[in-house]
Symmetry: C2
Subunit: 435 residues, 2 copies
């Protein structure tokens, strides 16, 4: 494998989006591989000509598009028709009646990105957008700083697109996430340190090598991919906004982009305006945003992560203050839960709805439960919980908490004895018995 | 958990299908929970009124349906509107240009059920149909004999539907498949024995308990779900048949049902008639159908499985002779590959197309490669390889064959040293070096 350096960056000529703009001072930039304002160091965000979009995009034009994130391509920062489409997006929005009953609420949906394509997390959305844009900008090597899911996704989609790939991960990740990256044949750098240290190292590498880091120098494009999680929910609810959403908070980007997606579809007249409450979920062991929320601060104090919910363990979240602001102004909440509650959340979702999510999803379900029990979810609200990754990647987290099979001989008598035990004992007890 | 026995079996009143028929002697039966002909012990199959279907079903009525297997519900054996729809089916058909180039062919597609919903294998198709039908027939406890994927799927979809569930697996399955079943809270019986022994035990249990075994007493309904893998490919190719398909062979049911799906859509005028070649893939360590093919036999000699491709390790395949017949009459092939070739197949698909499949998929890709190298795939043929399950479930199979990450300190110098090694060494070599 050759790792190319310093690609030619070609300016797109037919961009459907209009450029980049600083979220803080409003300074405008060309749509290049930059992510920080040169004037105030604020983050850059992609801008669009909404007046134009409201004229050319209708529900019908969207519905006629592919069954993937690319049905929303007018709202995504890509300039050419050379899209990387591996079926990403348009995952099920499942009415979760059995889970809702358990939580004492009535109108609950699960947006299930645990089955997103190709690598079973919402990261496939942002990476599909980032690598399409990376190719437009002339990059031949792509990279990322990752807590696992992003590495899986970047490596897989780069392989499909024939791009060289080098990913950076903390060295203590779950086995499934490491193997689920190596299999695609990228260069994998396992860094002795936590995600925030990995991220700092990658910022240096991005400055010295001409690589496209999806979540650093390509971040403005990359993060726009998460808006599709907002668009899809609107479309799947029959072109309506929900009343309340619950989503995990890592860097805070997902949360703010679902918000941006809702705003955009309202702005261009695709959906009727409605107040939507935004609630965020963190694990106690890495909850800088929840702590700021609880203490009524408008700044984030970085923390050192220590939780099984590794995919959302970002101690210094880049978009934390924006997430905080959205939760407050929408009358939502930010809550955190313990690691045992995360495991219980994973099991609860699996047993009631047949969805096996990773620790981030367990965090979201545990927070949903906590909010429901505290009366912070109106039982009649249309509530959407975002499940962002698959449980097969974090098997360590539940191993030891789900019992064992009943071991039997291939004989009817052996089965009958086992069944008798099963019917007289509780599941977890008898599953540890060998008959 | 309570395990109900002897459910009331209610006859469906508004069935879109017409009943069951013996595949051997043609005897007809009502659409109950039976699978073997009382007269000749042949397998029973669902029948439909195709004259009626050709009048009422069009490409447009199908395209207007849900984005799941249920868009084809007129061709599925369900009688009510009470469908279990968890988003199963309509998985991507990916144009695999990079893999095609490696194999020296030109027109290759991957049908990617590694991302099927909810449990990442084609089994979600058959289980969605079987459990919908089980509920119609009044069953409250569902069950299966499984090599892993079926257990995952039955447990998950039963959880979503609120059905009690008891699954039977061989006791030596991969960790991901066991955990990926237990998480949903079913009763799991791990049988000391191979799949064929598990299956025999389950036949006895099906006779003595009133449970709905998806692949035993519900088998005629269950197996129909695989036809959707045929329908979808036709629709996704723009309402055309491919020239050649390559699919794994376990019991042989999937293979015969893709064939039935193609035949049905031709019969009712949804697609133009065309000869399609059917090629089947087995692992050397369990290749009773490939052996019969090679030796020009029209009967199957059962074998004792010994392969890492556990999900297709059925030594006494129920539909083996039918699969054999189809491969022969369509001018296809049946080929087998060694376990190392299976691992290479998994890696090849991941590195070229960004799809991580389990051992069954590795078997299919390795056979595809073998056939291409032997000139048994015409380079210009539109060829579809069916990938039936996800690699995260069989991590053991590739562990040790994909290298390790490069371990570095969170410092630029450490990264640069690692990169230098990476660029001067081959990937597998340097990935085992700690810098």
């Amino acid at each position: 494998m050759t790792l190319a350096t310093h690609p030619t960056q070609t300016r797109s000529t037919a961009a459907a989006f209009s450029g980049l703009k600083c979220k803080e001072c409003g300074a405008e930039y060309e749509a290049k591989a930059i992510h920080v304002c040169e004037l105030c160091f604020g983050p850059l965000e992609v801008t669009y000509d909404y007046a134009h979009l409201s004229k050319v995009v209708t529900r019908q034009t969207i519905e006629a598009g592919p069954k993937s994130i690319w049905r929303y391509r007018s709202f995504l920062p890509v300039a050419t028709d050379n899209l990387i489409d591996v079926g990403t997006g348009f995952t099920p929005l499942l009415k979760a009646n059995r889970l809702a009953r358990r939580l004492g609420i009535k109108n609950l949906y699960i947006k299930n990105d645990a089955v997103n394509m190709p690598t079973l997390s919402f990261k496939d959305r942002v990476v599909s957008v980032a690598l399409t844009r990376a190719r437009e900008l002339g990059f031949t090597t792509v990279s990322c700083a990752s807590t696992g899911n992003l590495a899986n996704s970047t490596a897989a989609i780069a392989a499909h697109a024939g791009l060289d790939c080098c990913v950076f991960i903390p060295s203590d990740l779950e086995a499934g996430k490491v193997l689920g990256t190596l299999i695609y044949g990228p260069t994998v750098m396992a860094v002795h340190g936590n995600y925030d240290q990995v991220n700092r190292l990658c910022s240096e590498v991005a400055n010295t090598h001409g690589w496209g880091f999806v979540n650093i120098n390509l971040r403005p494009y990359y993060s726009e991919g998460s808006k599709t999680l907002g668009y899809e929910v609107i479309e799947q609810l029959g072109w309506q906004l929900p009343d309340h959403i619950v989503a995990p908070l890592a860097s805070g980007s997902l949360f703010t982009k679902i918000y941006k997606g809702f705003q955009e579809f309202t702005k261009v007249g695709l959906v009727e305006e409605k107040a939507v409450r935004f609630s965020g979920a963190q694990a106690d062991g890495c909850s800088p945003i929840a702590q700021a929320y609880r203490e009524d601060r408008d700044f984030i104090t970085p923390v050192k992560p220590n939780t099984i919910a590794k995919s959302i363990a970002i101690g210094n979240p880049a978009d934390g203050v924006y997430a905080l602001d959205i939760a407050r102004k929408t009358n939502g909440n930010i809550e955190s839960v313990s690691d045992p509650e995360v495991v219980e959340g994973i099991k609860l979702l699996a047993e009631t709805e047949g969805i096996f999510t990773e620790t981030a999803g367990g965090t979201t379900i545990a927070v949903l439960k906590k909010l429901a029990e505290a009366g912070k979810i109106n039982p009649d609200e249309t509530t959407v919980a975002y499940i962002t990754g698959n449980g097969l990647k974090t098997q360590e987290a539940v191993q030891g908490y789900i019992g064992e099979p009943l071991t039997i001989e291939p004989k009817l008598e052996s089965f009958e004895r086992a069944l008798e035990r099963a019917q007289t004992l509780g599941r977890l007890e008898w599953q540890q018995v060998t008959v």
